[in-house]
């Protein structure tokens, strides 16, 4: 996390997650057969997030974060949502799996983010940017929530690639002692 550009990636991710949340809710409501199931999907997400958070806190090597994999994982989940067929018989089962994966990754990410020096600064910026972004989005007509979710997924994958590239460069430039 020494590279300047990677310092802003967690802010992009955390802002993106909140901004995309209303669209994600709309999508989840569409694919849930009943309100009970909709609520249970969220509960599964929440439990998985607690699990992910604890996994991140319990890791032995604090210098190894796997954060690029976390970004990539979240990106793949959001992109997958764009590719899901509504007509699939197994849709609720797939959604449940995605909810658990997403919860796990988000919990892990949050725990990792809280350990960073920039966390408190990011939190303030996060709220301000989210506020502005939501005002901006209020003027955008929703064609399909899936479009926004997929776009964010692609952005997440780009963050993962960027993190990996910078990490490789740092390893080349600063030889380990």
């Amino acid at each position: 996390m020494n590279h300047k550009s990677t310092r802003y990636l967690p802010l992009i991710v955390t802002v993106g997650q909140v901004v995309i949340f209303p669209y994600y809710i709309i999508w989840l409501k569409e694919v849930s057969l009943t309100f009970t199931l909709f609520a249970w999907f969220f509960a599964a997400f929440s439990f998985a997030a607690a699990w992910g958070y604890r996994i991140a806190q319990s890791r032995k090597k604090k210098d190894r974060s796997y954060i690029a994999i976390i970004y990539a994982g979240m990106g793949i989940v959001y992109v997958s949502i764009g590719g899901i067929k509504y007509s699939s018989d197994i849709l609720p089962y797939v959604v449940l799996l995605l909810q658990v994966i997403l919860g796990l990754l988000q919990g892990y990410f949050r725990a990792w983010h809280a350990e960073q020096d920039t966390y408190h600064l990011h939190t303030v910026h996060h709220y301000l940017i989210v506020g502005c972004a939501m005002i901006g989005f209020s003027f955008v007509k929703i064609i399909s929530p899936v479009v926004f979710i997929t776009t964010f997924g692609i952005l997440m994958c780009m963050c993962a690639v960027w993190t990996l590239v910078i990490h490789e460069k740092e390893e080349v430039v600063i030889p380990r002692k």
């Binding site: 057969l33 607690a50 699990w51 604890r54 007509s87 018989d89 449940l96």
Partner: protein, 489 residues
């Protein structure tokens, strides 16, 4: 409290919590029901959704005089009325273009149970399940009903349904009396001795001769049966059934035929319900059980090919496990239905039923192999299941499908909704119908109209009498539906 706080710090504990909770959700994800019926938008479909049609409005009568008023008004105003219950028929029998749909579901009361005479008087919009709930505590059961109890009384009688009972004839034969509203709006109570022969036309009349308001149905003891299952070769079935019919030990019976590639139309198993002479008062009516597992098994079989072989193997093991178990008559008459729900957009699952004379069964099944594909894995048109039931001779109704003792082959099939897919399905079903007619058989009318008008007329030679009688009794053509409009008019 401290223990919980300590456990929450352990990733394995939280992981276990997620796994357990996810398992609970997986078990409780509801099975999606197909959406059909009377909508507020003025568009109506029945169970398959294949024949959507715009109607004028849906009316619900408050009471009998209200029913009469609606019918009389239709005579005066030149309106058309179609009668609907739960709309499980699949060929537009419950609605008519720009017509009024009379929703009978408000007439759902059990009016009277006569324990001495063993009869129940029930309104036509009630389901057989409603009847079962009322008569089970007093140790009684229906004489004849369909395999499932989800249909309305009026609907079942209007399609002249049959069931698994091999002793009491057709469902219509168990009706002692009924109250109807005639096409002119008159309320009549009729019996089998009625000189005007209303029953002859109301049963299997598809709601074209009047409204069934209530019926008095004969009952029998809610006996305890022993389930007996057996695997058979197709070629042995006709003689096996002949012995079964002559041996008074069996009360109910049905069979299932393999449509899996490895045993296609060769293997079958039979399920018999044998008398124990014990009457049951205490066993509760069973609810749907293991719906998810059964649906999963059927969903696997729906793919055809090797997976259909697997499904057939699973079915055989399950049926073998039932051998020797006991079941009440009421519970044998309420099979599960939710597992069959199929809601894939762009595709439809429908039923067809073909009747073939008992004596010609073996030859028919041999020829059938040349009509339907052994392995439909890569075909759009797929056959998932064939169940065989016995239908005793019925000379009472006009559109009678059992002109002699017949086996009914109930077929569950699936196809796409594109024009070419429907026409491919239509062509195959028409070939199947021709084969059935060539073997002296018929097909059942409450399903989608794949058959040609010529095939309808060959199957039901009395259709002319039916049409003439319809015009005589309903001169203003008050009672109409899509089926009548297409085949009879």
């Amino acid at each position: 409290m401290q223990t919980i706080a300590h456990l929450v710090k352990k990733p394995w504990f939280l992981g276990s919590l997620v796994v357990i909770f996810v398992s609970v959700i997986l078990w409780n994800i509801p099975i999606e029901k197909r959406k059909y019926g009377l909508s507020q938008s003025g568009l109506v479909t029945d169970y398959t959704g294949l024949l959507p049609e715009r109607i004028e409005r849906v009316v619900r009568a408050e009471n009998r005089s209200d029913l009469q008023r609606i019918v009389r008004q239709a005579n005066v105003n030149g309106q058309q009325i179609a009668i609907a219950g739960l709309q499980h028929s699949q060929g537009g029998h419950t609605y008519y273009k720009n017509g009024v749909v009379l929703d009978m579901r408000t007439f759902n009361r059990i009016l009277e149970i006569d324990e001495l005479q063993k009869t129940v008087r029930v309104e036509a919009g009630a389901t057989w399940e409603d009847v079962q709930e009322a008569i089970q505590p007093i140790g009684l059961a229906l004489k004849v009903t369909q395999s499932q109890s989800i249909f309305t009384i009026g609907g079942s009688l209007s399609v002249n349904a049959h069931g698994r009972d091999i002793r009491f004839g057709s469902m219509a034969e168990t009706v002692k009396a009924m109250t109807i509203i005639t096409p002119e709006g008159e309320s009549k109570t009729v019996t089998r001795e009625d000189p005007d022969e209303w029953m002859k036309y109301i049963f299997g009349g598809y709601g074209l001769f009047g409204v069934i308001v209530d019926v008095t149905v004969e009952l029998t003891e809610n006996q305890l049966y022993t389930i007996q299952t057996e695997k058979l070769k197709m070629s042995a079935y006709a003689s096996y059934f002949d012995r079964l019919l002559n041996d008074q030990h069996t009360a109910m019976h049905y069979a299932r035929v393999s449509v899996a590639p490895n045993s296609f139309l060769d293997e079958m198993y039979v399920i018999n319900y044998n008398h124990t002479e014990k009457q049951d008062f205490t066993t509760r009516l069973k609810k749907e059980q293991s719906v998810r597992l059964t649906k999963l098994a059927l969903d696997i079989g729906r793919h055809g090919g090797a997976l259909e072989n697997l499904f057939w193997g699973t079915q055989k093991r399950y049926i073998a496990s039932l051998n020797g178990k006991e079941i009440t008559r009421n519970n044998a008459m309420r099979s599960e239905s939710t597992f069959m729900e199929y809601t894939k957009p762009g595709r439809v699952e429908v039923l067809q039923e073909f009747f073939v004379p008992v004596h010609g069964f073996e030859a028919y099944m041999k020829d059938l192999k040349n009509v339907i594909p052994v392995n439909d894995k890569h075909d759009d048109f797929k056959i998932h299941n064939i169940t065989i039931r016995y239908a005793a001779t019925d000379q009472f109704t006009t559109l009678n499908y059992a002109k002699e003792d017949m086996f009914g082959l109930v077929v569950l099939m699936q196809h796409g909704l594109k024009e070419e897919q429907i026409s491919e399905a239509t062509s195959l079903i028409q070939n199947w119908t021709n084969l059935t007619l060539d073997h002296g058989g018929t097909y059942y009318l409450p399903y989608y109209r794949y058959q040609t008008k010529e095939q309808f007329r060959r199957s039901y030679p009395q259709w002319n009498t039916f049409a003439d009688e319809k015009l005589r009794r309903d001169p203003h053509n008050v009672f109409q539906n899509m089926f009548y409009d297409y085949y009879v008019k």
